[in-house]
Protein backbone atom coordinates (compact mmCIF):
# COMPACT_ATOMS: atom_id res chain seq x y z
CA UNK A 1 0.00 0.00 0.00
CA UNK A 2 1.42 3.38 -0.98
CA UNK A 3 0.20 6.93 -1.19
CA UNK A 4 0.16 8.66 -4.52
CA UNK A 5 -0.46 12.33 -5.24
CA UNK A 6 -3.26 12.70 -7.78
CA UNK A 7 -4.79 16.03 -8.80
CA UNK A 8 -3.17 17.54 -5.72
CA UNK A 9 -4.70 15.01 -3.33
CA UNK A 10 -2.89 12.11 -1.61
CA UNK A 11 -4.62 8.84 -2.55
CA UNK A 12 -3.97 5.39 -1.13
CA UNK A 13 -3.28 2.80 -3.84
CA UNK A 14 -2.24 -0.88 -3.75
CA UNK A 15 0.98 -2.34 -5.14
CA UNK A 16 -0.47 -2.38 -8.66
CA UNK A 17 -1.74 1.19 -8.45
CA UNK A 18 -5.46 0.45 -7.93
CA UNK A 19 -7.44 2.69 -5.57
CA UNK A 20 -8.04 1.39 -2.08
CA UNK A 21 -11.06 3.66 -1.64
CA UNK A 22 -13.03 4.25 -4.86
CA UNK A 23 -15.00 7.05 -3.18
CA UNK A 24 -12.07 9.49 -3.26
CA UNK A 25 -11.88 9.37 -7.08
CA UNK A 26 -12.43 12.49 -9.20
CA UNK A 27 -12.41 13.05 -12.97
CA UNK A 28 -9.20 15.07 -12.70
CA UNK A 29 -7.51 12.04 -11.13
CA UNK A 30 -8.71 9.88 -14.04
CA UNK A 31 -7.16 12.27 -16.52
CA UNK A 32 -3.80 12.17 -14.68
CA UNK A 33 -3.87 8.37 -14.48
CA UNK A 34 -4.74 8.06 -18.17
CA UNK A 35 -1.91 10.39 -19.16
CA UNK A 36 0.50 8.28 -17.07
CA UNK A 37 -0.65 5.23 -19.06
CA UNK A 38 0.11 7.03 -22.33
CA UNK A 39 -3.52 7.62 -23.26
CA UNK A 40 -3.97 10.95 -25.06
CA UNK A 41 -5.72 13.53 -22.88
CA UNK A 42 -8.15 15.19 -22.62
CA UNK A 43 -10.11 11.95 -22.68
CA UNK A 44 -12.86 11.51 -25.26
CA UNK A 45 -16.56 11.05 -24.53
CA UNK A 46 -16.16 7.32 -25.21
CA UNK A 47 -13.45 7.09 -22.56
CA UNK A 48 -15.74 8.76 -20.04
CA UNK A 49 -18.62 6.53 -21.05
CA UNK A 50 -16.50 3.49 -20.20
CA UNK A 51 -15.09 4.95 -16.97
CA UNK A 52 -18.50 5.94 -15.63
CA UNK A 53 -19.94 2.58 -16.63
CA UNK A 54 -17.08 0.80 -14.80
CA UNK A 55 -17.81 2.76 -11.63
CA UNK A 56 -21.56 2.16 -11.85
CA UNK A 57 -21.01 -1.59 -12.24
CA UNK A 58 -18.51 -1.64 -9.40
CA UNK A 59 -20.85 0.10 -6.98
CA UNK A 60 -23.76 -2.14 -8.00
CA UNK A 61 -21.99 -5.48 -8.17
CA UNK A 62 -18.84 -5.18 -6.08
CA UNK A 63 -16.50 -5.85 -8.98
CA UNK A 64 -15.69 -4.09 -12.23
CA UNK A 65 -16.70 -5.84 -15.45
CA UNK A 66 -14.31 -7.88 -17.62
CA UNK A 67 -13.65 -6.90 -21.25
CA UNK A 68 -16.27 -9.33 -22.53
CA UNK A 69 -18.92 -7.94 -20.22
CA UNK A 70 -17.93 -4.38 -21.14
CA UNK A 71 -18.21 -5.25 -24.83
CA UNK A 72 -21.70 -6.64 -24.30
CA UNK A 73 -23.15 -3.97 -22.07
CA UNK A 74 -21.21 -0.68 -22.03
CA UNK A 75 -22.25 0.41 -25.52
CA UNK A 76 -18.60 0.32 -26.65
CA UNK A 77 -17.38 -2.67 -28.69
CA UNK A 78 -14.45 -4.83 -27.61
CA UNK A 79 -12.46 -3.59 -30.58
CA UNK A 80 -13.04 0.04 -29.58
CA UNK A 81 -12.17 -0.79 -25.98
CA UNK A 82 -8.74 -1.96 -27.08
CA UNK A 83 -8.30 1.30 -29.01
CA UNK A 84 -9.42 3.44 -26.06
CA UNK A 85 -7.49 1.56 -23.37
CA UNK A 86 -4.74 -0.38 -25.16
CA UNK A 87 -3.50 -3.82 -24.04
CA UNK A 88 -5.80 -4.57 -21.12
CA UNK A 89 -8.93 -2.44 -21.39
CA UNK A 90 -10.73 -3.68 -18.28
CA UNK A 91 -7.62 -3.43 -16.13
CA UNK A 92 -6.59 -0.02 -17.43
CA UNK A 93 -10.12 1.38 -17.34
CA UNK A 94 -10.53 0.11 -13.77
CA UNK A 95 -7.26 1.78 -12.83
CA UNK A 96 -8.37 5.12 -14.32
CA UNK A 97 -11.88 4.75 -12.88
CA UNK A 98 -10.45 4.39 -9.38
CA UNK A 99 -11.93 0.95 -8.70
CA UNK A 100 -10.18 -2.32 -7.78
CA UNK A 101 -8.81 -4.63 -10.45
CA UNK A 102 -11.75 -6.58 -11.93
CA UNK A 103 -12.14 -10.02 -10.48
CA UNK A 104 -11.24 -12.33 -13.31
CA UNK A 105 -11.65 -15.99 -13.74
CA UNK A 106 -9.75 -19.10 -12.77
Amino acid sequence: MTTKLLAGTPVEVNEEGFFVDPDVWTEDMATELAAEANIAVPLTDKHWQVLHYMRKEYFEKGTGPTVRKLGKSSGVTVKELYQLFPKGPAKLAALCAGIPKPRGCV
Binding site: K72, Y82, A90, K91, K101, P102, R103, G104, C105, V106
Partner: protein, 430 residues
Amino acid sequence: MAQEPKKLLILGGGTGGTLAANRLRKKFKASELRIDVVDQDNQHVYQPGLLFVPFGLAEPDEIVRRRNKQLHRGIGYHESAIQGVDINANTVSLENGEILDYDVLLVATGSVLQPEETEGMNGSQWLKTVFTFYDMEGASALAEKLDTFESGELVINVIDMPIKCPVAPLEFAFLADWFLTEKGVRDAVTITYVTPLDGAFTKPVASATLASLLEDKGINLVTEFNTAEIDNEGSKLVGYDEREIPFDLAVVIPLHGGAAYVEESPGLGDELGFIPTDNATMQSLVAPNIFVLGDAADVPASKAGSVTHFEGEVLVENIEAFIAGRELTARFDGHANCFIETGFSKALLIDFNYETEPLPGHYPFSVGLPLLKESRINHLGKLMFQSFYWHGLLPGRDIPGIGSDMPMSGKDKDLVGAGTTPASATEKGN
Protein backbone atom coordinates in the same frame (compact mmCIF):
# COMPACT_ATOMS: atom_id res chain seq x y z
CA MET B 1 -54.61 -35.85 4.28
CA ALA B 2 -51.20 -36.56 2.76
CA GLN B 3 -49.33 -33.53 1.50
CA GLU B 4 -48.37 -33.21 -2.16
CA PRO B 5 -44.66 -33.82 -2.68
CA LYS B 6 -42.55 -30.72 -3.31
CA LYS B 7 -41.17 -30.40 -6.82
CA LEU B 8 -37.47 -30.11 -7.54
CA LEU B 9 -36.72 -29.40 -11.18
CA ILE B 10 -33.13 -29.83 -12.38
CA LEU B 11 -32.07 -28.21 -15.63
CA GLY B 12 -29.18 -30.16 -17.11
CA GLY B 13 -28.34 -33.86 -16.91
CA GLY B 14 -24.57 -33.50 -16.90
CA THR B 15 -22.12 -33.90 -14.02
CA GLY B 16 -23.86 -31.51 -11.63
CA GLY B 17 -27.49 -32.26 -12.45
CA THR B 18 -26.94 -36.00 -12.29
CA LEU B 19 -25.01 -36.13 -9.04
CA ALA B 20 -27.40 -33.73 -7.33
CA ALA B 21 -30.46 -35.67 -8.50
CA ASN B 22 -29.02 -38.96 -7.29
CA ARG B 23 -27.86 -37.63 -3.93
CA LEU B 24 -31.18 -35.90 -3.26
CA ARG B 25 -33.16 -38.98 -4.34
CA LYS B 26 -31.46 -40.87 -1.51
CA LYS B 27 -32.33 -38.16 1.01
CA PHE B 28 -36.05 -37.80 0.29
CA LYS B 29 -38.90 -40.24 -0.17
CA ALA B 30 -40.92 -39.97 -3.37
CA SER B 31 -43.86 -38.80 -1.26
CA GLU B 32 -41.74 -35.88 0.01
CA LEU B 33 -39.96 -34.74 -3.12
CA ARG B 34 -40.52 -35.23 -6.79
CA ILE B 35 -37.33 -34.88 -8.86
CA ASP B 36 -37.26 -34.21 -12.59
CA VAL B 37 -34.27 -33.63 -14.85
CA VAL B 38 -34.38 -31.88 -18.23
CA ASP B 39 -31.74 -32.04 -20.92
CA GLN B 40 -31.74 -31.29 -24.63
CA ASP B 41 -30.18 -34.61 -25.61
CA ASN B 42 -29.41 -38.00 -24.16
CA GLN B 43 -25.64 -38.02 -24.59
CA HIS B 44 -23.70 -37.65 -21.34
CA VAL B 45 -20.09 -36.97 -22.36
CA TYR B 46 -17.26 -37.63 -19.91
CA GLN B 47 -15.73 -34.29 -20.82
CA PRO B 48 -12.20 -34.88 -19.46
CA GLY B 49 -11.99 -37.67 -22.04
CA LEU B 50 -12.23 -35.20 -24.94
CA LEU B 51 -8.58 -34.27 -24.36
CA PHE B 52 -7.51 -37.79 -25.30
CA VAL B 53 -9.59 -38.16 -28.46
CA PRO B 54 -7.34 -36.10 -30.80
CA PHE B 55 -4.38 -38.33 -29.92
CA GLY B 56 -6.21 -41.59 -30.45
CA LEU B 57 -6.01 -42.32 -26.70
CA ALA B 58 -9.78 -42.48 -26.35
CA GLU B 59 -12.51 -43.36 -28.83
CA PRO B 60 -15.64 -41.19 -28.86
CA ASP B 61 -17.94 -44.07 -27.90
CA GLU B 62 -15.82 -44.88 -24.83
CA ILE B 63 -16.61 -41.53 -23.23
CA VAL B 64 -20.35 -41.18 -23.92
CA ARG B 65 -23.24 -42.80 -22.10
CA ARG B 66 -26.96 -42.18 -21.97
CA ARG B 67 -27.97 -39.43 -19.56
CA ASN B 68 -31.11 -41.10 -18.24
CA LYS B 69 -29.22 -44.31 -17.43
CA GLN B 70 -27.05 -42.41 -14.94
CA LEU B 71 -30.12 -41.34 -12.95
CA HIS B 72 -31.43 -43.42 -10.08
CA ARG B 73 -34.90 -44.92 -10.08
CA GLY B 74 -37.59 -42.40 -9.17
CA ILE B 75 -36.15 -39.47 -11.10
CA GLY B 76 -38.11 -38.18 -14.10
CA TYR B 77 -36.27 -37.43 -17.32
CA HIS B 78 -37.44 -34.99 -19.99
CA GLU B 79 -35.52 -34.83 -23.24
CA SER B 80 -36.13 -31.41 -24.73
CA ALA B 81 -34.32 -28.13 -25.24
CA ILE B 82 -35.27 -25.45 -22.72
CA GLN B 83 -37.02 -22.34 -23.96
CA GLY B 84 -36.94 -20.22 -20.85
CA VAL B 85 -37.43 -19.91 -17.11
CA ASP B 86 -40.01 -17.58 -15.60
CA ILE B 87 -38.46 -16.85 -12.23
CA ASN B 88 -41.59 -15.10 -10.98
CA ALA B 89 -44.11 -17.75 -12.00
CA ASN B 90 -41.72 -20.60 -11.03
CA THR B 91 -42.15 -22.33 -14.36
CA VAL B 92 -39.87 -23.63 -17.11
CA SER B 93 -41.06 -23.90 -20.69
CA LEU B 94 -39.58 -26.56 -22.93
CA GLU B 95 -39.32 -26.55 -26.68
CA ASN B 96 -41.49 -29.67 -26.87
CA GLY B 97 -44.36 -27.57 -25.52
CA GLU B 98 -44.30 -28.83 -21.93
CA ILE B 99 -44.45 -26.30 -19.12
CA LEU B 100 -43.01 -27.59 -15.86
CA ASP B 101 -43.57 -25.88 -12.53
CA TYR B 102 -41.24 -26.12 -9.57
CA ASP B 103 -40.87 -25.34 -5.88
CA VAL B 104 -37.09 -25.49 -6.13
CA LEU B 105 -35.10 -25.07 -9.34
CA LEU B 106 -31.53 -26.26 -9.82
CA VAL B 107 -29.73 -24.76 -12.80
CA ALA B 108 -26.95 -27.11 -13.94
CA THR B 109 -26.82 -26.48 -17.67
CA GLY B 110 -23.10 -25.76 -17.69
CA SER B 111 -21.39 -23.58 -20.25
CA VAL B 112 -21.49 -23.64 -24.03
CA LEU B 113 -18.85 -22.90 -26.66
CA GLN B 114 -19.36 -19.69 -28.62
CA PRO B 115 -17.01 -19.86 -31.62
CA GLU B 116 -19.26 -17.36 -33.42
CA GLU B 117 -18.19 -14.67 -30.93
CA THR B 118 -14.68 -14.52 -32.37
CA GLU B 119 -14.31 -13.07 -35.84
CA GLY B 120 -13.28 -15.68 -38.37
CA MET B 121 -13.31 -18.62 -35.97
CA ASN B 122 -15.97 -20.68 -37.66
CA GLY B 123 -14.88 -19.38 -41.06
CA SER B 124 -13.64 -21.22 -44.13
CA GLN B 125 -10.83 -23.01 -42.26
CA TRP B 126 -13.01 -24.30 -39.40
CA LEU B 127 -12.37 -28.05 -39.06
CA LYS B 128 -9.73 -27.78 -41.83
CA THR B 129 -6.85 -25.99 -40.14
CA VAL B 130 -8.75 -24.44 -37.21
CA PHE B 131 -10.11 -26.87 -34.60
CA THR B 132 -11.24 -27.13 -31.03
CA PHE B 133 -11.10 -30.30 -28.95
CA TYR B 134 -13.72 -28.95 -26.53
CA ASP B 135 -16.55 -30.83 -28.21
CA MET B 136 -16.86 -34.29 -29.71
CA GLU B 137 -17.12 -33.13 -33.32
CA GLY B 138 -13.97 -31.02 -33.04
CA ALA B 139 -12.01 -33.60 -31.05
CA SER B 140 -12.79 -36.33 -33.60
CA ALA B 141 -11.98 -34.13 -36.59
CA LEU B 142 -8.72 -33.07 -34.92
CA ALA B 143 -7.75 -36.73 -34.45
CA GLU B 144 -7.90 -37.20 -38.21
CA LYS B 145 -5.95 -34.00 -38.82
CA LEU B 146 -3.19 -34.87 -36.34
CA ASP B 147 -2.83 -38.24 -37.95
CA THR B 148 -1.35 -36.62 -41.05
CA PHE B 149 0.16 -33.46 -39.53
CA GLU B 150 3.93 -33.75 -39.77
CA SER B 151 5.44 -30.29 -40.00
CA GLY B 152 4.71 -26.63 -39.48
CA GLU B 153 3.36 -24.30 -36.80
CA LEU B 154 0.97 -25.75 -34.25
CA VAL B 155 -0.67 -22.93 -32.29
CA ILE B 156 -2.85 -23.49 -29.24
CA ASN B 157 -4.94 -20.44 -28.37
CA VAL B 158 -7.21 -19.74 -25.42
CA ILE B 159 -9.39 -16.81 -26.54
CA ASP B 160 -10.47 -15.60 -23.11
CA MET B 161 -11.50 -16.82 -19.68
CA PRO B 162 -13.64 -18.30 -18.29
CA ILE B 163 -13.22 -21.69 -19.94
CA LYS B 164 -13.99 -25.21 -18.80
CA CYS B 165 -11.04 -26.98 -17.24
CA PRO B 166 -8.48 -24.15 -17.52
CA VAL B 167 -5.59 -26.63 -17.51
CA ALA B 168 -6.84 -28.66 -20.50
CA PRO B 169 -5.25 -26.42 -23.17
CA LEU B 170 -1.88 -26.84 -21.43
CA GLU B 171 -2.41 -30.58 -21.28
CA PHE B 172 -3.16 -30.51 -24.99
CA ALA B 173 0.20 -28.80 -25.60
CA PHE B 174 2.05 -31.38 -23.48
CA LEU B 175 0.31 -34.29 -25.18
CA ALA B 176 0.94 -32.82 -28.63
CA ASP B 177 4.65 -32.66 -27.75
CA TRP B 178 4.54 -36.33 -26.73
CA PHE B 179 2.43 -37.40 -29.73
CA LEU B 180 4.66 -35.67 -32.29
CA THR B 181 7.80 -37.01 -30.58
CA GLU B 182 6.45 -40.57 -30.77
CA LYS B 183 5.68 -40.00 -34.44
CA GLY B 184 9.26 -38.87 -34.98
CA VAL B 185 8.27 -35.46 -36.38
CA ARG B 186 8.61 -33.25 -33.30
CA ASP B 187 11.67 -31.45 -34.76
CA ALA B 188 9.63 -30.38 -37.79
CA VAL B 189 6.83 -28.85 -35.71
CA THR B 190 6.87 -25.64 -33.68
CA ILE B 191 4.38 -25.65 -30.81
CA THR B 192 3.24 -22.27 -29.49
CA TYR B 193 0.88 -21.73 -26.56
CA VAL B 194 -0.97 -18.42 -26.83
CA THR B 195 -2.90 -17.12 -23.83
CA PRO B 196 -4.63 -13.90 -22.77
CA LEU B 197 -3.26 -14.43 -19.23
CA ASP B 198 0.03 -12.94 -18.07
CA GLY B 199 1.47 -16.42 -17.49
CA ALA B 200 0.91 -20.08 -18.30
CA PHE B 201 -1.84 -20.36 -15.68
CA THR B 202 -3.95 -18.20 -13.41
CA LYS B 203 -2.23 -18.99 -10.11
CA PRO B 204 1.39 -17.89 -9.44
CA VAL B 205 3.12 -21.02 -8.01
CA ALA B 206 1.43 -23.39 -10.49
CA SER B 207 1.96 -20.90 -13.31
CA ALA B 208 5.73 -20.92 -12.72
CA THR B 209 5.85 -24.74 -12.58
CA LEU B 210 3.80 -25.08 -15.76
CA ALA B 211 5.82 -22.40 -17.59
CA SER B 212 9.04 -24.28 -16.85
CA LEU B 213 7.45 -27.53 -18.08
CA LEU B 214 6.53 -25.78 -21.33
CA GLU B 215 10.10 -24.58 -21.63
CA ASP B 216 11.55 -28.05 -20.93
CA LYS B 217 9.41 -29.43 -23.71
CA GLY B 218 10.40 -26.71 -26.16
CA ILE B 219 6.92 -25.20 -26.32
CA ASN B 220 6.83 -21.44 -26.92
CA LEU B 221 4.68 -19.34 -24.59
CA VAL B 222 3.00 -16.12 -25.77
CA THR B 223 1.19 -14.24 -23.00
CA GLU B 224 -1.28 -11.33 -22.85
CA PHE B 225 -2.42 -12.05 -26.38
CA ASN B 226 -6.03 -11.04 -26.93
CA THR B 227 -7.27 -12.58 -30.15
CA ALA B 228 -9.35 -10.17 -32.23
CA GLU B 229 -9.63 -12.32 -35.30
CA ILE B 230 -8.67 -15.58 -36.92
CA ASP B 231 -7.52 -14.67 -40.41
CA ASN B 232 -8.52 -17.71 -42.48
CA GLU B 233 -6.83 -16.65 -45.72
CA GLY B 234 -3.65 -15.49 -44.08
CA SER B 235 -3.61 -18.46 -41.64
CA LYS B 236 -2.83 -16.31 -38.63
CA LEU B 237 -4.20 -15.14 -35.31
CA VAL B 238 -4.52 -11.36 -35.14
CA GLY B 239 -4.47 -9.70 -31.73
CA TYR B 240 -6.22 -6.51 -30.66
CA ASP B 241 -2.74 -5.02 -30.27
CA GLU B 242 -2.08 -5.97 -33.93
CA ARG B 243 0.40 -8.71 -33.10
CA GLU B 244 0.10 -11.64 -35.54
CA ILE B 245 0.77 -15.32 -34.98
CA PRO B 246 0.92 -17.50 -38.12
CA PHE B 247 -0.24 -21.10 -37.95
CA ASP B 248 -0.52 -24.23 -40.05
CA LEU B 249 -2.76 -25.84 -37.46
CA ALA B 250 -4.65 -23.80 -34.85
CA VAL B 251 -6.26 -25.48 -31.86
CA VAL B 252 -8.50 -22.87 -30.28
CA ILE B 253 -10.57 -22.75 -27.12
CA PRO B 254 -13.63 -20.66 -28.07
CA LEU B 255 -15.25 -18.20 -25.70
CA HIS B 256 -17.67 -19.79 -23.24
CA GLY B 257 -21.05 -18.55 -22.12
CA GLY B 258 -24.09 -19.90 -20.31
CA ALA B 259 -26.75 -21.98 -22.05
CA ALA B 260 -28.76 -20.12 -24.69
CA TYR B 261 -32.11 -20.19 -22.82
CA VAL B 262 -30.62 -18.14 -19.97
CA GLU B 263 -30.67 -15.06 -22.18
CA GLU B 264 -34.37 -15.73 -22.91
CA SER B 265 -35.14 -15.84 -19.18
CA PRO B 266 -35.48 -12.31 -17.80
CA GLY B 267 -33.58 -11.79 -14.56
CA LEU B 268 -31.89 -15.20 -14.51
CA GLY B 269 -28.37 -14.63 -15.83
CA ASP B 270 -25.62 -12.07 -16.30
CA GLU B 271 -24.31 -10.64 -19.59
CA LEU B 272 -22.49 -13.89 -20.37
CA GLY B 273 -25.41 -16.14 -19.47
CA PHE B 274 -23.99 -17.33 -16.14
CA ILE B 275 -26.18 -17.22 -13.03
CA PRO B 276 -25.22 -14.86 -10.19
CA THR B 277 -24.66 -17.25 -7.29
CA ASP B 278 -23.58 -17.08 -3.66
CA ASN B 279 -19.95 -18.34 -3.61
CA ALA B 280 -20.47 -20.36 -0.47
CA THR B 281 -24.06 -21.68 -0.41
CA MET B 282 -24.70 -22.19 -4.16
CA GLN B 283 -28.05 -20.42 -3.77
CA SER B 284 -28.65 -18.07 -6.66
CA LEU B 285 -28.79 -14.34 -6.04
CA VAL B 286 -31.78 -14.02 -8.39
CA ALA B 287 -34.39 -15.95 -6.39
CA PRO B 288 -34.15 -17.86 -3.09
CA ASN B 289 -35.68 -21.04 -4.55
CA ILE B 290 -33.16 -21.19 -7.40
CA PHE B 291 -29.86 -22.96 -6.80
CA VAL B 292 -26.96 -23.32 -9.22
CA LEU B 293 -24.34 -26.03 -9.63
CA GLY B 294 -21.21 -26.31 -11.75
CA ASP B 295 -20.21 -24.24 -14.76
CA ALA B 296 -23.56 -22.41 -14.91
CA ALA B 297 -22.71 -20.48 -11.72
CA ASP B 298 -20.72 -17.25 -11.84
CA VAL B 299 -18.67 -18.18 -8.74
CA PRO B 300 -14.92 -17.44 -8.96
CA ALA B 301 -13.90 -21.11 -9.07
CA SER B 302 -12.69 -23.15 -12.04
CA LYS B 303 -15.32 -24.48 -14.38
CA ALA B 304 -14.35 -28.08 -13.78
CA GLY B 305 -15.86 -31.40 -12.82
CA SER B 306 -14.02 -31.55 -9.51
CA VAL B 307 -15.46 -28.18 -8.51
CA THR B 308 -18.95 -29.36 -9.44
CA HIS B 309 -18.37 -32.51 -7.39
CA PHE B 310 -17.29 -30.60 -4.28
CA GLU B 311 -19.97 -27.94 -4.74
CA GLY B 312 -22.51 -30.74 -5.08
CA GLU B 313 -22.05 -31.97 -1.52
CA VAL B 314 -22.64 -28.47 -0.17
CA LEU B 315 -25.55 -27.85 -2.52
CA VAL B 316 -27.36 -31.03 -1.52
CA GLU B 317 -27.17 -30.12 2.17
CA ASN B 318 -28.41 -26.62 1.45
CA ILE B 319 -31.32 -27.76 -0.73
CA GLU B 320 -32.33 -30.12 2.09
CA ALA B 321 -32.18 -27.23 4.53
CA PHE B 322 -34.13 -24.97 2.18
CA ILE B 323 -36.92 -27.51 1.74
CA ALA B 324 -37.10 -27.98 5.52
CA GLY B 325 -37.24 -24.20 5.98
CA ARG B 326 -33.91 -24.12 7.83
CA GLU B 327 -31.01 -21.72 7.41
CA LEU B 328 -28.44 -22.70 4.75
CA THR B 329 -25.34 -23.57 6.72
CA ALA B 330 -23.17 -25.65 4.36
CA ARG B 331 -20.31 -23.66 2.85
CA PHE B 332 -18.30 -24.29 -0.32
CA ASP B 333 -14.67 -23.15 0.01
CA GLY B 334 -13.84 -23.08 -3.72
CA HIS B 335 -12.08 -26.45 -3.60
CA ALA B 336 -10.80 -27.72 -6.96
CA ASN B 337 -8.36 -30.39 -7.95
CA CYS B 338 -7.14 -31.44 -11.34
CA PHE B 339 -4.78 -33.95 -12.78
CA ILE B 340 -2.67 -32.27 -15.46
CA GLU B 341 -1.54 -34.74 -18.08
CA THR B 342 2.01 -33.87 -19.12
CA GLY B 343 2.71 -36.55 -21.71
CA PHE B 344 4.98 -39.61 -21.66
CA SER B 345 2.64 -41.33 -19.15
CA LYS B 346 3.07 -38.72 -16.47
CA ALA B 347 0.79 -36.17 -14.85
CA LEU B 348 0.78 -33.45 -12.21
CA LEU B 349 -1.93 -32.94 -9.63
CA ILE B 350 -3.04 -29.55 -8.35
CA ASP B 351 -5.38 -28.87 -5.43
CA PHE B 352 -6.63 -25.42 -4.42
CA ASN B 353 -9.58 -23.28 -3.31
CA TYR B 354 -10.81 -19.67 -3.26
CA GLU B 355 -8.10 -18.64 -0.80
CA THR B 356 -5.19 -21.01 -1.32
CA GLU B 357 -3.44 -21.36 -4.62
CA PRO B 358 -2.10 -24.74 -5.83
CA LEU B 359 0.94 -25.65 -3.71
CA PRO B 360 3.45 -28.49 -3.75
CA GLY B 361 3.11 -31.32 -1.24
CA HIS B 362 0.82 -34.35 -1.20
CA TYR B 363 -2.92 -34.98 -1.51
CA PRO B 364 -5.03 -35.56 0.51
CA PHE B 365 -2.53 -36.12 3.35
CA SER B 366 1.24 -35.95 3.70
CA VAL B 367 1.28 -39.52 2.40
CA GLY B 368 -0.62 -39.32 -0.83
CA LEU B 369 -0.43 -38.28 -4.44
CA PRO B 370 2.38 -35.82 -5.16
CA LEU B 371 1.19 -32.27 -5.84
CA LEU B 372 2.60 -29.98 -8.54
CA LYS B 373 5.12 -32.61 -9.54
CA GLU B 374 5.17 -34.94 -12.53
CA SER B 375 4.64 -38.58 -11.67
CA ARG B 376 3.36 -41.81 -13.16
CA ILE B 377 0.97 -42.39 -10.28
CA ASN B 378 -0.88 -39.16 -11.11
CA HIS B 379 -1.18 -40.30 -14.71
CA LEU B 380 -2.71 -43.57 -13.51
CA GLY B 381 -4.99 -41.57 -11.24
CA LYS B 382 -6.18 -39.58 -14.22
CA LEU B 383 -6.86 -42.72 -16.24
CA MET B 384 -8.68 -44.43 -13.38
CA PHE B 385 -10.84 -41.42 -12.75
CA GLN B 386 -13.24 -42.15 -15.58
CA SER B 387 -14.41 -45.30 -13.90
CA PHE B 388 -14.92 -43.46 -10.62
CA TYR B 389 -16.84 -40.76 -12.51
CA TRP B 390 -19.50 -43.18 -13.81
CA HIS B 391 -19.61 -45.50 -10.82
CA GLY B 392 -18.85 -43.24 -7.85
CA LEU B 393 -19.24 -39.56 -8.55
CA LEU B 394 -22.46 -39.55 -10.59
CA PRO B 395 -24.30 -42.07 -8.38
CA GLY B 396 -23.35 -39.88 -5.41
CA ARG B 397 -21.02 -42.17 -3.47
CA ASP B 398 -18.55 -40.61 -1.04
CA ILE B 399 -14.86 -41.48 -1.23
CA PRO B 400 -13.20 -41.83 2.19
CA GLY B 401 -10.68 -39.03 2.75
CA ILE B 402 -11.86 -36.94 -0.18
CA GLY B 403 -14.12 -34.27 1.26
CA SER B 404 -15.50 -31.12 -0.25
CA ASP B 405 -13.22 -28.91 1.87
CA MET B 406 -9.67 -28.50 0.63
CA PRO B 407 -7.17 -30.34 2.88
CA MET B 408 -4.16 -28.31 4.04
CA SER B 409 -2.31 -31.06 5.91
CA GLY B 410 -0.16 -32.38 3.07
CA LYS B 411 0.71 -29.01 1.55
CA ASP B 412 3.95 -27.07 1.63
CA LYS B 413 2.61 -24.02 3.41
CA ASP B 414 5.95 -22.18 3.39
CA LEU B 415 5.33 -21.15 -0.17
CA VAL B 416 2.24 -19.16 0.73
CA GLY B 417 3.18 -15.53 0.62
CA ALA B 418 6.65 -16.26 -0.75
CA GLY B 419 6.39 -13.45 -3.22
CA THR B 420 2.82 -14.36 -4.04
CA THR B 421 -0.51 -13.26 -2.73
CA PRO B 422 -3.05 -16.04 -3.05
CA ALA B 423 -5.99 -13.67 -2.61
CA SER B 424 -5.03 -11.67 -5.66
CA ALA B 425 -4.29 -14.81 -7.64
CA THR B 426 -7.91 -15.10 -8.66
CA GLU B 427 -7.73 -11.78 -10.39
CA LYS B 428 -7.02 -11.36 -14.02
CA GLY B 429 -5.80 -8.37 -15.94
CA ASN B 430 -8.48 -7.85 -18.49
